[in-house]
């Protein structure tokens, strides 16, 4: 009864529904713009969360993530251009349906499946996070150090591309985290006499620079986005027969989305393509896939909306963000002086409760706002790119200045944008860098604290069984990633010879 009362008070006593609705709405619009990923949509909001109370701030960001995962499917269906990477699988059958004059049906299946995925993802989030938090309460300084290393190595190993580049990006992130005042002795490091650097580099500045500013820099040399016909601004939900047919692909999508969301580094893109393939494999209408199959939309859309919730599991339980979007959400926690992990559940349970409440209503808000905002999404997609870029640039500069009223912050964001642009050219991933930055303090302070407590005995990291397990897992991930290409080339060579 107490819980019911608290839920009622939360929904009626604070503007949680309003904040969640704004987040979902902003997410739908941001996700619908090609080139603006969920993480960028969230990063643009980060400065505004500074003025909000902690609960509203994290609800706003989390619901933006939920909205953006659906928003990405709108241009995927209408103009064959996914608004987000995770919506790329939706283009295959979504655009095919649109070409057959069934855009309204395709949009309806996408929204309906997204809502189903969101509900399943939320339930999994609630039931999985609690047990993991209880495990995390047993952690000691060596465990936290090992956990930080495990998070970095898992992200570097699973984020795709070159392992060497991903590890290097993680080390660079750790280097940036050392700027400022040393956590043990208090001496200043790498500040170059700048008082603005004494407190370190705020992760939010690096995130906005890397994700949003570098995207604008990259977009600057690209052409205009494709336009959409205004007569497609309708949604038609599936009837009873089609809803029954969609159950299987939705369950496949949600199942894969649950697994991929919990796995750091995997994310919605892999989940949506995997679920598309599995839905085709298990479908009675496999021949329709690629030519406008409703199941080909339902599976990936359920998957990426499930990921939007389950990706929060490792972030909330251990403080390890598994994707760009959850890294930005972590930035929202850090702005308000909160660090996700078991302590958060003990010290800021109201924020967690608020976050769950916001996420619980987000699928229903998605349903309502997804229908209402479709004309706005189409209008936004059809705006000249030059104007959209100008307003996003102005929004970034105004928002970043709002945080500390510092011109130095603007310079850091621009510099991070420039670095991000060249990282894109050289194909260095962003996520390991961001993770290194946000975990840097935890890794260094717990490493040194462990050694102080043990009288400089490095065996302290192996004496704690959980820490030893984490370190062994980290070594397995790195060695496995290094060995995988060698094994592949050996197998290809053997096949070629035979």
């Amino acid at each position: 009864m107490d819980i019911l009362y608290q839920v009622f008070a939360l929904y009626t006593g604070t503007p949680i529904i309003l904040v969640a609705a704004i987040g979902v709405a902003w997410g739908i619009v941001g996700g619908a713009l090609p080139g603006i990923s969920p993480s960028i949509t969230m990063a643009l909001l980060l400065p505004f969360t500074y003025t909000l109370d902690p609960t509203s701030a994290v609800v706003l960001l989390a619901c933006t993530y939920v909205g953006a995962e659906y928003g990405g499917s709108v241009p995927a269906i209408l103009i064959n251009t996914p608004g987000t990477n995770a919506a790329a699988a939706t283009t295959i059958d979504g655009y095919a349906m649109k070409q057959r004059g069934m855009a309204a049906e395709a949009l309806g299946i996408s929204l309906y499946s997204g809502v189903i995925g969101g509900i399943i993802g939320f339930l999994l989030l609630v039931f999985l996070t609690g047990p993991l938090v209880r495990v995390a309460l047993l952690f000691t300084p060596p465990t936290y150090f090992a956990l930080g290393l495990l998070g970095l190595s898992v992200i570097a190993s699973l984020s795709g591309g070159s392992l060497v580049k991903a590890l290097a990006a993680a080390v660079i992130g750790l280097m940036v985290a050392t700027i400022g005042t040393d956590p043990i002795s208090g001496v200043s490091r790498f500040t170059f006499g700048q008082a603005d650097l004494l407190g370190g580099v705020a992760p939010i500045l690096i995130m906005v620079g890397l994700f949003a500013v570098s995207e604008l820099f990259a977009q600057s040399s690209l052409g205009e986005w494709v336009k959409s016909a205004a007569d497609t601004a309708r949604i038609r939900f599936p009837d009873g027969k089609l809803r029954r047919r969609l159950v299987k692909p939705q369950l496949i999508g949600s199942g894969i989305g649950a697994f991929e969301g919990v796995m750091p580094g995997a994310g919605g893109t892999i989940a949506s393509f995997m679920s598309y393939n599995e839905a085709r494999r298990w479908s009675r209408h496999g021949e329709e896939f690629g030519h406008g199959s409703p199941e080909g939309i339902a599976a990936p859309e359920s998957a990426n909306n499930t990921v939007a919730c389950t990706a929060l599991v490792p972030m909330l339980s251990f403080g390890i963000p598994g994707s760009n979007a959850t890294a930005v959400l972590l930035g929202g926690f850090l702005i308000h002086g909160m660090r996700p992990g078991p302590q958060l559940f003990q010290e800021n349970s109201d924020v967690i409760f608020g976050l769950y409440s916001g996420l619980a209503i987000s699928p229903f808000l998605l349903l309502a706002l997804g229908m209402m905002m479709l004309p706005l999404c189409i209008w936004m997609v059809n705006r000249p790119k030059a104007y959209l870029m100008a307003f996003i640039y102005a929004l970034i500069f105004s928002g970043i200045y709002s945080i500390h009223q510092s011109m130095f912050d603007l310079a850091i964001v621009l510099a991070a944008g420039g670095v991000g642009f060249f990282m894109r050219i050289l194909r260095f991933p962003f996520l390991p860098l961001v993770l290194g930055l946000v975990l840097g303090y935890m890794v260094e302070s717990n490493f040194r604290r462990s050694l102080v407590l043990s009288g400089d005995d490095p065996m302290v990291f192996l004496q704690d069984p959980i820490a030893a397990g984490f370190l062994a897992l980290a070594a397995i991930f790195v060695c496995g990633s290094l060995a995988a290409p060698l094994f592949r080339s050996w197998r290809q060579g053997r096949e070629a010879r035979s």
Binding site: P34, G35, P38, I40, F48, T51, P82, N85, V164, K165, L167, A168, V171, L174, M175, T178, D182, I184, S185, V187, R189, F190, V213, S214, E215, L216, F217, A218, Q219, S220, S221, L222, N324, K385, A386, Y387, A390, F391, Y393, A394, F397, S398, Y401, S402, Q405, M407, L410, L414, F421, R424, I425, L426, R427, P429, F430, E444, R448, L451, V452, D456
Partner: protein, 184 residues
Amino acid sequence: MGSSGLAMAGGMGLHEDKTMRDFIGGLVLLALAAGYYLQSLQIPRSTLNDSYGAHGVPQILAACLAPLGMLLAAKALVAMLRKGGVATATAAEAAAGDGKGSASLGRSVLRMLGMLGLGIAYILLLPWIGYPLAIGLMVGAVVLYQGGAARFGLLLTMIGASLGFWGVFVKLLGVPLPAGIWAG
């Protein structure tokens, strides 16, 4: 990397030169490791230090980054030598690219520097001309830089942006943005 994958693969066409890109990336990492290590030597020693000191972890990080840079550069160098030299490898890789309307690297960097310049100009001008004028000018400059037409509608957009951003940030959110010439 978020949407960058879409943007870069679709537009910039930089995937054409993987080996050279990795070689340059490796050298950049080496330079960064060296610079960071040299700076770590400047960190003052404190009587409150533990056995590692404030410089200990930075030096470990520099020692981790340097071999990663060497490995990346060495792998790229070996790949280039196997293909018969830098020029041949680059030409072959460039020829292998799909070249679907992609901008050249030089043009992309110049465009990026232009956007960066507009941002720097905004930062320098903001304290002098004040937020409403600076934000309006920046919106106009970015629109023109991105190929928007210089017509009456743009002027209205600039005025609208000035008033809109000033209204939201200064009046609604109460952010003390520099007033510049509008002070008082």
